[in-house]
Each structure stands twice: as C-alpha cells, then as structure tokens.
Amino acid sequence: MTQPVLSVRNLTVEFPTRRGILTAVQDITFDIMPGEVLGVVGESGAGKSMTGAAIIGLIDPPGRIAKGEIWLGDQRIDNLAPDRMRKIRGRRIGMIFQDPLTSLNPLYRISRQLIETIRTHLPLSQADARKRAIKLLDDVGIPDAARRIDDYPHQFSGGMRQRVVIALALCADPEVVIADEPTTALDVSVQAQIIDVMKEICAERGAAIMLVTHDMGVIAETADRVAVMYAGRLAEIGPVASVIKNAKHPYSQGLMGAIPKLGENLDRLVHIPGSMPRLNAIPQGCAFNPRCPQVFDKCRTHRPAASEIEPGRRAACWLYPEVTEA
C-alpha cells in the first residue's frame, strides 16, 4: 500500500478569545494519496479554509493548532519552526488562493515573481529559471508565454491571472497543492477552463490536490474523493460519485438536494431549515442536530465521530450502527 502524501490526524484548530475558546476545526482526520484530488466542501464557516491554512501553517494568531498532527510524507509539519516551514511552503506544498489579483504583486512583472519563486526553492540560474517559468506558463495554457511573461498582472484577464497563480504554485513541483476556492471569482466559462488545467496538471505531474470549495459542481468535475464539512467537523468523506449520488449524512443529503440542477426541473428544492451555527454556539452532541430531519435523543447529547461505515467511506452520524462516539 502506498503511503499518503498528506495525512491529517485529529486536527483541532482553536481561537482563544475574551469570551472563551472558539473551535474552528474539530477533530478532523483524512489522508490524501499521491496524485489524488480531495475535494473539501462546506458552507461558509464550515472550517474548510481553516483546515487548508492549518496544513500550510498560515493560521492567523491567536488561532492555534490545539490538537492533532499533520504529516507530509514521513515528516511531521504541524510543529515545525517558522523558518523550516517556510522551506516546505511553496517547495513541497503549493498554494492557490481565491482571488488571483491579491496573490500576485501588481508592481512586479510576472517573470520576476515566477523566477524569484523558482530560485528560492530550486538551485537554478536566472536563465534556467526563466526557461522553467516560460515552460510552466505554457503548461497552464497561457498563449505566447515567452512574450507574455514580461507583462504585469493587470495586463492579464481574470482567467489568465488564475493560470499564472497556478503556475506559481507549481514552480517547485510540489507534492501537494492546496487550492482554496480557485474558481469562485471566475465566470462559468472560465471556471471550466481552469478546472481542466488543474486536472491535467495534476495527472501529468502526479501532484495531489486538496481542493477547497463551496461549489459541489466543481467537486463533481474534479475530485476523486470528497470531504463534507459542517461547523468545523467532518460530516462525511468518501469517493465523489458515491457521496454525490448516495450521501449518507443527512447534511450532505440535504446539501445535494438544495442544489438546483440543469437536468431536472423540480418544483421545490430540499429545504434545510435554519443556518449553520456560529462558532460560539455549536450545539451539544451532533452539530447538525437542530436542523436534522432525522434527529433523535442520542444526537442531542453525544458527538458522533467520523467512523467507517463502508469500505472507504466515513460518516459522523448516529443513524449508522458502526459510528462511535468522539
């Protein structure tokens, strides 16, 4: 059996505040295999971006990893000193953020930003780094890369800018890329292009991707497995086709039914009453229990752990007898 490239074990992220400790991510465990795309979905405040930030060591203080371990291959990275983490970030873990305009420096040419990143991580000469940068731009589908490399970010359109950001993330051939809402700021037709680029790149280079998004459509197109998050916890994780077609957790079932679809015209969408609890008011027991249509007594008092209910599938719901208490 191959070793996972990234392994997150019982990760808990807390924010101490004057009014007590807020738990943004609670007890999350998952693995990503080499070359795999793991989608992480959830609504705003579900803790999906925070999980990504914890992996790359960029949680804003006073937030902290309170519990758990993060392993990159056979190296533990959650407790590394900042300067050692910096050598991993960008080298072994690439990052793609939502808004390409804010992840590029508007005052520097693309070439400078790419070459700087490449030379920070790889022992290449200026000329070789430039060659590599052009090759990367070409790979992510920027036409006439050799000429456009000397343009400034504002000279690119939104979709092209996001391609540059993808190239930037791939500079040092990372083993894992954390992509946080990479297509959210883009129009549908451009989104489709970016999804294609990410899929191709991942397949060619064997890099694993953790794709954080609120858009189930993007997950369906891109991911191999999907993790559904709710109120900082893992509700369900499994192969993408089986989670989408046969969701186990009532939250993921509701979420799937709430999405309008092109192929069918239902009169009404599935209605999950209420909204996600705030971090300071996460209910006792299962976090979803006040909104759950199948709630029973145990849900209100005992917190279910994401436990294996079928080979390769875990869910945190008391409806399944295999589920244990957290």
Binding site: D187, H214, S275
Partner: protein, 331 residues
C-alpha cells in the same frame, strides 16, 4: 400577448468612461464610451419569471437598474403595463407606477440601513406609498410581512447585523413586498448566500409568486438557479441579447453558439459522465468590443459575415437567436 406587463424596446445605455477633460485636451484623446446595454428588446408576461443570464460585464445589472429607474436609458423605451416609463415621468403618476414594482439586491447587508431597526426598514415603503396608514395598522402590516417571509414579528425590533445572510435577504424581500407590488426585479438575490440558504430563499420566492401572482425579472449568472426559477430566459453577451426564449426549449435545444458553450461549461453535478467540449477564450472588454457579432472571436462557426455584420434576433419556434450561422442554417 395581451397580458404583457413589461415591454422593453430597443433599450441601450452607454456610459462615459473618458479620461478627464484636461488629459483629453493634452493627449488629444477622444471621448470613450462603454455600451453596457445595446439594443435589447424583450417582453415579460404577467405572473412569469423572466431571467437574464450572462457572465460579468454582460450588462445584466445595468438592465435591472434601467427597468426600476435607477438609471436612464440612452435610447429605447420601457413600457410597464401600457405606460411608457420614458424620461420625465414625475409626480403622482410616477408614484402610482413606481409602487407597483420593487427591487431586491444582491447584498442584503449593503441594501439595509444598518442603523435602522428592521420594523422601520420594512415600514419605509408603507410610509411613502400608504400615507393615510396609521402607526398601529403599519405595525400590524410589518408583523404580517415578517411572518410571510418566515421570520417572527418580534424580529422587527432587531437591527440588520443581528441576522444571518439568509435572514437579511428575507428582510429585503419583506420590504420589497410591503407596498404590494406586482413586479419585482431581483438582481442576483442569492449569489451571496450558501447553497442551503439559497434553496430556502428560492423556495420562498416561488411560494410568494404563487400566492400573490408576482412577476419577476430575475438576474443571475448561475445557470442552475435560472433553470430552476425561470419560465423565459434572455442570454446576454457584451450588452446584447444573444438568445431569448422559453426556458425549457432554451435548455433543451440551445441555438446560439454562446448559449451552447455556456451550458456546456456548467459543472456536471449529476455526474452523468457528459463530455465537455473545450471552452475557448474570455469575454472581451466592453470598451472595445469586436466588430460584427460580439461573440465571433470565440465562436467556432464564425465566418466573414460574422466579423463585419451585427446579427439581429431571428425567431425560430419558441426561441430567438442573434446568430448568422443559425439564420443561414449552418448549425
């Protein structure tokens, strides 16, 4: 059709985006304009939902603002229930007409005054349009409206920041309904919301439509949402209508190459294994649109005529497309 409520005729709007006067004089530049909306015509029948879809910069929000009168058209006319909303509509007649339509905006936090209590926010249209209404009756009506949108009358005492995004959009809907309008323009009403909350709001909007026979103009970039809501759809590209027609037909058999591309680009959430065609290019800048058909640089069917001549809408059965290739039967 006799039950047409809104008739938009050859609507155009351009914005002046010129450099400042001094720069123009010194650098010898001409004035520059953006044609945000160009020659758009459509009709909306009573009780129907007409959706405008398009990517950013296609002019959909400009059309919404033109309809409700937040912007004035450069050319063209908007006829509401037989009366033209031409420039210069003033006084009592304007008030009589205006109360019959309302608008819901994308970001409820920006469209609700943060320093007003919810009661005052919802009662404002009543104070403007129902001047004879006394405080007690108004208070009761606000309670009714809050119940209608799924909140409780006691929520009226709170401020907007005390609500979640979905609840705030409910408040905006309650305010829009306060003056008993027949017609509501919704500009991306759910794009700031999470999916489960979006589903709640879409269901609510459908229920209200059934209950009060409302007519919606629904603006969205999300094709799935439009598919769910609309009876009639207009697809915008660079300020022009590329295709307009019945929702069912338009989704089943899209005519215009842009509509086809757009539908193709929607992620396949049902996982039918549908093969997507590769999407090419991006929307060009509206300041300097391509000559001829605005879509021709991205269109696989473009020929010389497309590059020089702007196509008009030609009707074919339940839908009309502005495309030379469709008109000539090339596709």
């Amino acid at each position: 059709m006799s039950d047409t409520l809104l008739d938009v005729r050859h609507l155009s709007r351009r914005f002046d985006v010129s450099a400042p006067w001094l720069n123009r004089k010194l650098e010898g530049l001409d004035k520059t304009y953006v044609n945000a909306v160009k020659d758009v015509s459509f009709t909306v029948a009573k009780g129907q939902t007409f959706a405008l879809v398009g990517e950013s910069g296609s002019g959909k929000s400009t059309i919404a603002r033109l309809i409700v009168g937040l912007l004035e058209p450069t050319e063209g006319e908007i006829v509401f229930d037989g009366t033209s909303l031409a420039r210069g509509l003033k006084g009592a007649e304007a008030r009589r007409l205006r109360r019959r339509f309302q608008m819901i905006f994308q970001d409820p936090l920006a469209s609700l005054n943060p320093r007003w209590r919810v009661t005052d926010i919802i009662a404002e249209p009543l104070r403007v349009f129902e001047r004879s209404m006394n405080d007690r009756a108004r208070h009761l009506r606000v309670g009714e409206l809050l119940t209608l949108v799924g909140l409780s009358p006691e929520d009226g005492l709170k401020f907007p920041h005390q609500f979640s995004g979905g609840q705030r959009q409910r408040i905006a809907i309650a305010r829009a309904l306060a003056a008993n309008p027949e017609f509501i323009v919704c500009d991306e009403p759910t794009s700031a919301l999470d999916v489960s909350v979006q589903a709640q709001i879409l269901n609510l909007m459908k229920d209200l439509q059934d209950e009060f026979g409302l007519t919606y103009v629904f603006i969205s970039h999300n094709l799935q949402v439009v598919r769910h809501m609309a009876t009639e759809i207009g697809v915008l590209y660079l300020g022009r209508l590329a295709e307009v027609g019945e929702a069912e037909a338009l989704f089943a058999t899209p005519q215009h190459p842009y509509t086809r591309m757009l539908l193709d680009a929607v992620p396949d959430i049902e996982m039918t294994g549908r093969r997507r065609k590769k999407v090419e290019g991006e929307i060009p800048s509206p300041i300097d649109p391509p000559p001829g058909c605005p879509f021709h640089p991205r269109c696989p069917f473009a020929n010389a005529r497309c590059r020089s001549e702007v196509p008009g809408l030609t009707r074919r059965g339940p839908q009309a497309a502005a495309c030379h290739a469709v008109e000539e039967g090339r596709i």
